[in-house]
Amino acid sequence: EAGVTQFPSHSVIEKGQTVTLRCDPISGHDNLYWYRRVMGKEIKFLLHFVKESKQDESGMPNNRFLAERTGGTYSTLKVQPAELEDSGVYFCASSPGQGAYEQYFGPGTRLTVT
């Protein structure tokens, strides 16, 4: 069974540019989550999808971040325009149910904004 995959693995962009991160969850997992870890900080929750619906966006830092999950399959996280403080590692996780202990994490996308 393939795990959670994320693309790209690393992205370097300039301040003000746009970047789109992609996550492919484990097949059959209705729940998809985005987390991020900025330098020196803990991994923090960003948002949660159930199928194609956003259930919880409480962790999204501001309106420069837009997440979508088309058809309840893969998800994208767009940052527009990127700021220096957006640098960090963005993790995607998926789960079959909503138990906190059921989440499988992807390898992350390392975003560097210069």
């Binding site: 959670v4 803990e42 991994i43 929750f45 993790f91 909503q98 138990g99 906190a100 202990y101 994490f105």
Partner: protein, 111 residues
């Protein structure tokens, strides 16, 4: 105050030693307590989880939760070089999917 505090280390031990990791937390509503292992350039991988208080053992790994002290621990017995990784504690409230992570402790097991 952070919700979850975890000593970042680093921790270096010889092969075969017992590794002791711990986290403290401030939110008494946390009911699920997880330990993740993360290798370099990889995502967190769940090692084990505990619901409420008590101990749980899985092979060389033992997780302990003391809710009265808001303190959790992970012990790794007979540590191996392959155990070298960052270990993250994470917690959640009852019926909640949002994980609150500690900062992670980097462990190196020397051969």
């Amino acid at each position: 105050q952070k919700e979850v505090e975890q000593d970042p280390g680093p921790l270096s031990v010889p092969e075969g030693a017992i590794v002791s990791l711990n986290c403290t937390y401030s939110n008494s509503a946390f009911q699920y307590f997880m330990w993740y292992r993360q290798y370099s350039r990889k995502g967190p991988e769940l090692l084990m989880y505990t619901y409420s208080s008590g101990n749980k053992e899985d092979g060389r790994f033992t997780a302990q939760v003391d809710k009265s002290s808001k303190y959790i621990s992970l012990f790794i017995r007979d540590s191996q070089p392959s155990d070298s990784a960052t270990y993250l504690c994470a917690m959640s409230r009852w019926n909640d999917y949002k994980l609150s992570f500690g900062a992670g402790t980097t462990v190196t097991v020397r051969a």
